[in-house]
Structure formats: C-alpha cells, structure tokens
C-alpha cells in the first residue's frame, strides 16, 4: 500500500505527496501530459527533442544540472509516445534546489540557439546509436506505420526520420513549450521524509506564481478497427531471420488491458510460457521468442517476437504459432496456470513498491489515468482475472485480421 496526499494549486498544478520516513533522499517527479502522440506528422520526434532542451537552461537559471549536482542530486527524464517524465533524486535537506529548478523550467525556458543546435546533434547521434547502428534496430520504425494507419502511434518517439529533427526551429520549440509545459498539464509528486505541510508550503512557494494556461484538449484521430492481416518483409544485413507479430489491444484504462497483459505473460514472458515451451523447446523452430504488451495509453499492441533457427521457414513458424494461439482461444486455461501468472504479478508489485523513485513515478502515472490510488488497486484487478476473461479476450484479439506481421529476412552483404 502506497499512502499519499493530493492537492491542487490555483494555477492547476496537481501535486501528490508520499511520506517515507526511512529514506534520507527525496524524489521530485514531474509528469507532463505530452508525448510523441501529440506531435504533428510533419514534425515528429519533437516531444523527445524538447525533453533534451529542458536541460539547456531556464528563464532565470542558465544551467539545470550544475545546481542540482551541487545539492548532491541527480536528474534524468524520458519521453514515450504518451508522456514526458522528469525526475530528480537528492538528499532531502536540499529539496528546495530541485523545486527551484523544476518550477523555473515550468515557468519558461532560456531558448538559447546554441542549446537547440547542440541537442539536435545529440538526438541525431541517439537516433543512430539506438535505431540505425544496431542489428534489428530499425524494426519499430517500420512496424509502427504497419500497425497504425491513422493514430500518431504510427511514429516512434525518436521520430519518423532524422530530417524532422534536423529541421526543428526555435519557433517550433517555443510553440511546443507554450502549448504543453504549464501547471495545468503537469502532475508533480514529492516523495520522501518530508511532511505534508512542508510539502504544501514549498510547492506553493515555488510553483504558486506560475501563470495558468488552458490544458490543451487532445483530439487524436482514432485508429479504425483493423480488418485485414498486414504483412511486410524487410531485408537486412542481420544474422538471423526475425519475426514481429503485433496485435491491436485495448486501451490502458480498460479491464481488458490487464487481461491482455496476462495473456502476453501466458504466451511468452518466462521459460515456462506456452510459446517458449512449444516453439523453442519442443518444435525447435526458434532460438528465442517472447511476448509482451506495449503498455500505451490508447489502443496498444500485444507483441510476439523472436528469431528463427537456421533452416526454419517463416511459414513453418507461422503455422505453429497460430496453433499455439488457437489453443488459448479454444480451451479455457487451467487453474494452475492462471494462478501461476497471478502470483508472479503479486511478486512484481511487491518489488515495485521497494523503490522510492518507482513509487513516485507510479503515483503520477495513475493520477494521469484518473486517480493515483489506482496503484494500490491494480493488484486486486489482476487477481480478479479468470480463465473466462482470458479466453474471451484471447478470442477477440488473437485473430489474423487484428494482426500486423513484420518479418526481417537476413541477407548477407559480405
């Protein structure tokens, strides 16, 4: 159980407070309700590039990191298709430094041309390091537009292509800041050995005067129901043939989301899972296989991916894989298997509660979904899942017309 308090400033900032008397550290976590899905299709990769610029100095403070390091702290951030999250971890006695820094960059950035120029280059190197210079690295750049035709999930957070990052201008940066970076679009969580009253006083002090703006209304195009099996084959200089099956799955807020998560565990989370046991161990078709969910807020993807053994055809794999999926659809899961999947969830939840930063991030994530207390209700939701739920959702999702398949065919250049 993660205890927390909540309050809202007049300017619209939502604040969560979590007391942990055992730690000498404090976490200041800020979630902005903006991600790659909020970009325009002509300017992708922007939410993430912007995250880099948030460290390039704010209106009153030329350098973000140095003062925080001087206070014994550390900071980082990440961008997903849905959100952008910034966190600071520092000794609790120095919490004001983090609030000073975070509130100033919520107020306004410095917008220096140098920062934009350098971070464009840094992000381009990140693009190369993660997506271009790795075997199988560009798979998600190709898979997203195959699975999504309309919804902005069709591009990756890093962006569709390097050119979009190269072309980013200072006007773009300013417009993005004005639209998305203000109190009403943020959730702040303070976690550590600090009282609720002190938290309120300090947050009011540093954030209270930031002007309010209107939370942008999100009007994303809804991805139409998929009614066709889609397949695409890439040829790449990689060692082995690889396959990526992507099934559309329900949005984050639905009960079916949790059921789908359990289905992915049943199929391919561990070495006792169905796909691993059948395709790798018994039939020896693959050298690796796994299943997982993308975890996105809007309609996401249930993924099955792996690599073929030498001499095995994509078709042989395909037939065997659909047979395993048919099993799940045609026969209710035995109780022992459901229990196995659910006790693993229980273990994971207990470990997630161990870390202070984890708790702070999770509280913010659930608040974005509607109520931070969701973090305490999630395990119960999982534990209420039955074999019947699993079968029903499997039947709905694991259909060919709901599937996009990307194959990477290994070719040798040398």
């Amino acid at each position: 159980m993660i205890q927390f308090n909540r309050f809202k400033l007049a300017n619209g900032l939502t604040v969560l407070h979590h007391l942990d008397e055992t730690t000498p550290m404090v976490v200041v976590n800020t979630l902005y309700d903006v991600g790659a899905r909020d970009e325009s299709e002509e300017k992708t990769g922007f939410a993430h590039l912007f995250e880099h610029l948030m460290f390039g100095g704010s209106v009153n403070i030329p350098d973000f990191d140095a003062p925080l390091q001087h206070a014994g702290g550390e900071s980082n951030a990440f961008t997903s298709n849905d959100i952008t999250n910034y966190y600071n971890v520092l000794p609790v006695q120095n919490i004001e430094t983090a609030l000073w820094l975070e509130s100033d960059r919520m107020l306004s950035l410095a917008f220096t041309p140098k920062s934009l120029e350098v971070q464009r280059n840094v992000v381009i190197e990140e693009f190369k390091q993660r997506y271009l210079n790795q075997p199988y690295g560009d798979v998600w750049l190709e898979l997203r537009p195959l699975a999504y035709k309309v919804h902005p999930y069709k591009w990756a957070t890093i962006g569709k292509k390097i050119e979009h990052i190269e072309e980013a201008t200072m006007d773009d940066v300013k417009a993005f800041f004005n639209a998305h970076y203000h109190p009403a679009n943020a959730i702040l969580c303070i976690a550590g050995n600090i009282s609720f009253d002190e938290t309120k006083r300090l947050v009011e002090k540093w954030y209270g005067t930031i002007p309010t703006s209107i939370k942008p209304e999100r009007m994303l195009p809804k991805e139409p129901a998929q009614n066709e099996f889609r397949i695409q084959t890439l040829e790449r200089n990689v060692p082995n043939n690889a396959f990526y099956y992507a099934f559309k799955m329900p949005e984050r807020k639905s009960f079916e989301y949790y059921v789908t998560d359990i289905i992915s565990d049943a199929l391919g989370r561990e070495k006792s899972s169905r796909l691993y046991g059948k395709l790798q161990k018994e039939l020896q078709l693959v050298a690796s296989i796994s299943a997982y969910i993308s975890g996105s807020l809007d309609e996401g993807l249930l993924m099955i991916e792996g690599k073929l053994n030498d001499g095995v055809s994509f078709e042989a794999l395909d037939e065997a894989l659909w047979n395993v999926l048919a099993e799940l659809i045609n026969h209710p899961m035995e109780q022992a298997e459901t229990e196995k999947l659910l006790i693993k969830i229980r273990t994971v939840k207990a470990f997630q509660e161990q870390g202070l930063l984890n708790r702070a991030m999770n509280l913010c994530n659930y608040e974005l979904l509607g109520d931070a207390n969701g973090v305490n209700e999630e395990n119960e939701l999982y534990q209420s899942i039955t074999a019947e739920h699993i079968q029903t959702v499997a039947k709905e999702l694991l259909r060919k017309e709901n599937c996009s398949l990307l194959r990477v065919k290994a070719i040798t250049n040398d």
Binding site: T97, W100, N133, N237
Partner: protein
C-alpha cells in the same frame, strides 16, 4: 517575492548511516551475508560462484552458466521453470570476469521452496542433449548479433589487448564455441566451478533465522574448499588500433589503462578525479563532447574492479566522421587536468554530488547489502565508506592535479576504435 536567480541554500551530506549485515560462516572460506530489515515481503537470494568467464576455455563458463536450469533426470528445463514460476519466483543469472551469480527474487513465504528447486536443478543437472543444442543455438545467435554491434566489437578487442599478457583474461568467445557440444567439458566445469565453487551467499529479506540455517544446509555443500585465487599482474602495451566495420554510422571508442585494486591508497581520491573527467552528467567529457559539440549521445569513464587489480576506461559511441575530433578533445581534457588546477566551484560541486550519490547508494536494505558486498568481496569493510566521506570532503585541487599527472598520461592509454 522569491528570488529565482539565486540557488536556495544547500547542506552538504555530513553523515551516512551504513548498516552492516549479519554475517554467518558457511565454511571457513565461504560467508553468508544477511540483511534482515526489509519493510515488506520481498526477498532476494544471491549465490556467487567461482565460475566467471576467465575460469574456462571455449566459452565453457558462459555455456554452463546458461545450462544450469536445463534439466535433471526427473524434470525438463520447462518443468523446472514452471515450478519456480508457480511459486511466483524470478531467476536472474549474471556472469562477469571473476564471478557467476544466480539470483532468486520472490516473496518470503516462497523462498525455501524455490531454493530447494534451484538446489536440485543445479545439483542434478544432466546436460540433456536437446537442451544443450537449443542453448548453443541461442548463444550462437546472440554471438552473431553482438558481432554486428560496434560497441561490442570495441569492447571485446579492448579486453583482448588490455589483458594481452594473460591467457584467461584476454580470451574471447569464438563462433566455434557454440557450434559443437562439449559435454565432457560442461560436466567437468560444472562439477569444479559450481558443485565445488560456491564463494558466497547474500540474502536480503525479513525471514527467520531457521530459514538462514536451512539455506546454509542446502547450499553449503557447494562451498569452495579454499578461497579462490585470482590473477593480478597484467602488462599492457599502449597503442591505438581501429577495427573497421563497413556499414557502421557510428564509431565505438574504448580507451583505458590499468590502475589499481580497490584497496590502493589512491583509489578513493582517484574517484573524485574520474568523476570530474567523465563520471557524471556535468563532467568535462560530457560538457565538451556532448553538450558543446554534440558529437555523441553519451560519453563516460569507469573504474573497473578486479580482485587483484583494476582498470580505468573511457567509453563512447560517436558519429563516425567525428571519431578523430573526439579523440582530440579527450586528449585535450586529459592534458587540461594535468596542467590546470580544478577550480574551487567545480571541485565543491563534484564533492557534493559524490556525497549525495553515496547517500543514495546506502538507501534501503537492497542497496545497503550491495554496498557492503562490494567492499567485503575485496577484503575491505564499512570503514572504506567512512574513509570515502573523509577523502571526498578533504581532497584538494593540488592533489587532483598530482593524480592526473600520475595516472592520466595520454601516451599510456590503449585506444580501440570500431566502426
């Protein structure tokens, strides 16, 4: 009105409450460390074996490590994993130069049951043929993928050249290692390095003393008779070598040199120097090469610890057209530390940062156990961290300058690039 132009006052970390785990002698040479004060029902059990990658030829350590749960007379690998999963347990395995580790994460009520399954699986492993074939195939694929990554190629070649004087530390995996089974080799490595190779046990979890006793009974029979022996005298030739990869868009750089083991008198103060150079976001290398030039997504330094030695390394991936420009800047930053005194502002920032990070690394039972373990394994104790606080607080610019002159000569480095 608040003044946003001035940083609020800060306080340096003064004191850190380091907590020592309870220590049990499994045998005279093997200890169990137990951190009991955990606020919920989570448990982690780690088994350390003298089975690191330097302990065998032809990738035997890595292969046997991957085969530990591959099946017994009674159970297949899938059945073993199913038993552990049904108790909500997670297995994690890790292999490094000098150690192999098997870890169990679970809820405390399931610890003993899972420990028995793990003990039985490792004790009675029979290296079934189909499992061996499957594991070799997976390892072969992973090997081939890694060969395509410039970061991995640079890392491997760097290791080979750095440890050129030691056969076991410089040995690299080869494709052939994974292409035909060597059951005799697997069995003898397993017997020698696992069934008689346990070097320590660590436990974090709020369980009872009887649980600890049972774990000692269960795993104690694998205890290594004598303390493990390690190489420590290595000789390296400074040189610069490039390994080409045609279609790469980035070049990986690994450069380094031997320094000293963790108990060396310069170790702690050198950490301050290393942090200034490349071990935090505001470091000189990051500031110059990422934040000023935009050549890379990241660059950093590391101090790699071995039982009887240690080495310093600078690691980055850069756009291939700026490889030489990057090396020039690294050279410039090393020389700057050797010629100019570090300014007071920068030094005090680094000191505060390091003390804050030390405080963080002692936060909570899991972190504290790891912290204790990482000194105890090298024959040191918690006074190491008390000394660390003192050294960090008191080291001055002159001493940093001395250390830079002594340890950061460009000409002493081995430089490997791949791309």
């Amino acid at each position: 009105m608040i003044n946003r132009n001035i940083q609020p006052t800060t306080q340096q970390v003064e004191h850190i409450a380091f907590v020592k785990p309870q220590i049990f002698d499994v045998t005279p040479a093997v200890k169990l460390l137990w951190m009991k004060e955990v606020p919920n029902d989570t448990v982690r059990l780690d088994l350390f074996f003298d089975a690191g990658i330097t302990r065998g030829e032809q990738s035997l350590p890595a292969i046997v490590h991957s085969l530990l749960f591959s099946g017994t007379e009674a159970f297949s690998s899938v059945e073993i994993h199913d038993q552990i999963d049904s108790l909500g347990g997670f297995l994690d395995t890790d292999i490094s130069f000098e150690n192999a580790v098997v870890s169990i994460y679970c809820l405390k009520e399931n610890l003993l049951a899972i420990a028995h399954i793990v003990a039985d699986a490792i004790n009675n492993c029979i290296f079934r043929e189909n499992e061996v074939v499957d594991t070799l195939r997976s390892l072969e694929q992973r090997y081939k993928v890694n060969q395509q990554k410039v970061s991995n190629v640079a890392q491997q070649q760097f290791r080979k050249l750095l440890f050129a004087s030691s056969e076991s530390y410089s040995r690299l995996a080869a494709l052939e290692d994974f292409q035909s089974p060597n059951n005799f080799g697997y069995r003898s490595f397993w017997k020698e390095n696992y069934l008689n190779g346990l070097t320590r046990i660590t436990l974090v979890g709020n369980c009872g003393l009887d649980t600890v006793d049972e774990l000692i009974d269960l795993f104690g029979k694998w205890a290594k008779d004598e303390p493990a022996k390690y190489e420590g005298d290595f000789a390296m030739t400074p040189q610069k070598i490039h390994f080409p990869k045609e279609d790469a868009v980035q070049t990986a750089i690994r450069m380094g040199k031997f320094l000293f083991p963790k108990n060396h008198p310069d170790y702690l103060e050198f950490q301050v120097l290393s942090t200034i150079l490349g071990d935090y976001f505001g470091s000189r290398l990051m500031t110059n090469i990422r934040e000023d030039k935009g050549y890379t997504y990241g660059i950093g330094t590391g101090n790699m610890e071995l039982q009887r030695n240690g080495y310093f390394v600078i690691v980055t991936e850069v756009g291939k057209e700026v490889t030489e420009a990057t090396l020039t800047e690294i050279k410039f930053e090393l020389a700057r530390l050797q010629t100019e005194l570090v300014g007071e502002e920068e030094l005090s920032l680094v000191k505060n940062y390091m003390l804050g990070q030390l405080l963080k690394s002692a936060d909570g039972p899991y972190a504290m156990l790891d912290m204790f373990n990482s000194v105890d394994m090298y024959g040191l104790d918690l006074t190491f961290y008390d000394q660390a606080i003192e050294k960090i607080k008191h080291v001055d610019a002159k001493r940093i300058h001395e250390l830079a002159i002594k340890y950061l000569n460009w000409d002493d480095f081995l430089i490997v690039t791949a791309g």
